[in-house]
Assembly symmetry: C2
Homo-oligomer: 417 residues x 2
């Protein structure tokens, strides 16, 4: 375990959270749900206070020359505050994973074996200038019985402080222990402390771009769940239906370009007869295509692609295009360049679909459907704290059960070996 | 991803394993089972070759002054080789986790959602001078569709080389891809390379003592599953049945002292009337007791305990003893000193049992049963690669399902958002 002395920025908050976690793990669902409802109500009641803090953040960010798209994510209004309050209320309706018996049976010697879901304990979350994440993360952690250590962006610090004050007041009045949610200082060094707080933090979930993920991989001595990067491919097989291919490819690329489940590379079997029409549709929708020679031969606006294009998560109206000889070549390409987030196939051949789903190693594989469906809400999980691109613990959308661990409870009557 | 150039010792083996993993993930159960059976048969047939290599290892270790207990774990004979071959055959009988549908449903929009178990990919295992682990690990990884990178002790290198030659020959003849199992060089630096082989290795499982675990925590840039350290407690409540208490405490401490699920500290409620008899029974069984003042007052052979005793995983015929005022004080002690492996309570009060199981944060909680039951074989999992003391991914005995990840396969008919 680290010493508190080594954590000057976050040590006190981490100790409060650790102490709160011991209480939270034993709270009945009713108490947690009542607190969530009270927190939602308090957010609506104290909207003005939150908006005043947010205005100060937005003004400071605007003065610092922050791009409009980032300002937009930072900015709250009464409607957005009502929206995050609603998200808390929706958590009330979701089942509490804590106490679920994952498996259980009586062993031959009479011992009763149960594997039971328990909270992880203290969950650290590092994220960007999106104040809604502050409330979502606090709510998800609470419902799953965890204490939350939130490290938001410095540019949202006033907003987050106001939000956490509201959540803390309402939560503690509703019976939650002090420290059930803690906002960490926005100094850069507080991330480093969080990543090294062994014994205080049970998991850290970074929500952010590639540079944050890389820092976490390099520095973390606590367990982490990687989320984020999605270099997603859509493979169009020779057997694909033309209308389905066009709909899925366009939706995957253009529905919302800035998110991790949008498509970045299109792989097309060389026998697909409608390639020119497909590329024309993408170009017509405003997509800049970066292709290999065969793609450039099929449509005249395609610019040349390099390995850099295969590797890039554009998050923009750009798409790489490669024509492949066959499905195995598509699988090779995906194995080399994929970040393991979401891969899609459009095909009518059951054999091709089966080969693709067996051969692709990713959190989600979409068959004749848009990559945009990889999402906790779309999957029916009700809420998500991110989309895991790692293989251990949880892969894909992280819902409430993914914020838990398990304990084996084994009951005997004096059993010995 | 690391560059191969950065992995001079293990790069070539890691590449072979990574390539094998792509084939292994698609192999039907029949092929894997036939290979396991063939490997078992080959081990028995080529026992002499294995024993000759083992004799060279044992001689070298004996000359180097290796303790007898370590030599014993290193030494093979025909019976032990037959035993590891049998363990492979037992894997044939276990269900293959790959392809299991963990959950599945049709979403309101008609999309079919399935969460399916898939292999992790390449599993690295670092372990000590126990040649049986070489065969067990290779078999568990194969059955779960993973390629195995094995880093055994230098003192067992000749034995491991002979074992892997047998497994490789038999496995490849039975249709497994080259690289399905690879023995890594025994140089110290190969562990460091393995812990940094991002992109090549999907998880590393260290099986060893505290120093190995600490090194892994410090150095690993790949995902790890921590196994091992067990500072396990038995709490005897005021409501405990005397006979059950004596049986459980003695079995937990003395059945096999060198293993992670043996008990190290005894916590006794101050109202337990049979404390002197319990301590006398332990002392009579040859256990050296290290106790607080109240324990020392109850039995005259108890030597004084310090904080060091509460922290120590003795792995010997020693036991720390503390008399607590009540169950919450026992929970406080456990929260402070436990390694989260196994904690036991002996009690007849349902309220006490419930408070204990809710309040303890550990991989396994034993109620009126010996700590020694925390074991994959005892739990009916058939085989284990270790006992995880971490909260993410897998906690407790690691069986075949714990060597898998999952993929969401989502099937539509041109679905878009």
């Amino acid at each position: 375990m680290s010493e508190v002395a080594e954590l000057p920025l976050i040590g006190a908050a981490a100790l409060r959270a650790r102490s709160a976690a011991r209480v939270l793990r034993t709270l009945p669902t009713d108490t947690k749900d009542a607190a969530l409802a009270a927190m939602a109500e308090a957010l609506v009641e104290r909207t003005e206070e939150v908006l005043a803090a947010n205005a100060a953040d937005v003004d400071a960010a605007a003065e610092a020359g922050t791009p409009a798209s980032v300002l937009d994510r930072l900015r709250l209004d009464a409607g957005r505050v009502a929206g995050v309050a609603d998200a808390l209320r929706q958590l009330v309706a979701l089942p509490d994973p804590v106490g679920d018996v994952v498996r259980g049976n009586r062993l031959p010697n009479g011992l009763e074996l149960k594997q039971v879901r328990v909270p992880l304990g203290v969950v650290g979350i590092v994220y960007e200038a999106r104040p809604n994440v502050t409330v979502d993360a606090a709510g998800l952690c609470l419902k799953s019985g965890n204490a939350a250590l939130l490290r938001g962006s410095a540019s949202a610090y006033r907003t987050n402080t106001a939000l956490i004050a509201v959540l803390t007041d309402a939560g503690e009045k509703a019976g939650l222990p002090a420290g059930f949610v803690e906002l960490l200082p926005a100094e850069r060094a507080s991330v480093g402390e969080l990543l090294n707080a062994r014994g205080y933090v049970d998991v850290v979930i970074p929500r952010g771009g590639a540079s944050l993920i890389q820092r976490v991989v390099r520095e973390a001595r606590v367990p982490v769940i990687e989320t984020g990067e999605g270099n997603c491919h859509v493979y169009v097989d020779a057997s694909a239906d033309p209308a389905i291919a066009e709909a899925v490819v366009l939706n995957s690329k253009t529905h919302r370009v800035s998110v991790c489940n949008s498509a970045e590379t299109l792989l097309v079997h060389r026998d697909v007869p409608f390639l020119p029409r497909l590329l024309a549709a993408l170009a017509g929708a405003g997509v800049t295509l970066h292709g290999d020679d065969a793609a450039r031969a099929a449509h005249d606006t395609v610019v040349p692609a390099t390995d850099e294009d295969w590797a890039t998560e554009y998050l923009s109206m750009d798409m790489a295009v490669r024509i492949v000889d066959d499905l195995p070549q598509a699988l090779e390409h995906i194995a080399r360049w994929s970040t393991g987030h979401t891969e899609a196939i459009v095909a009518d051949s059951a054999a091709a679909i089966s080969e693709f789903t067996a051969g692709v190693d990713a959190a989600a594989i979409l068959v004749n459907a848009s990559t945009r469906f990889t999402d906790g809400g779309e999957f029916g999980f009700g809420a998500e704290i991110g989309i895991s691109t790692q293989k251990l613990h949880a892969r894909g959308p992280l819902g409430l059960p993914e914020l838990t661990s398990t304990t084996y409870v084994v009951t005997g009557r004096g059993h010995t070996r």
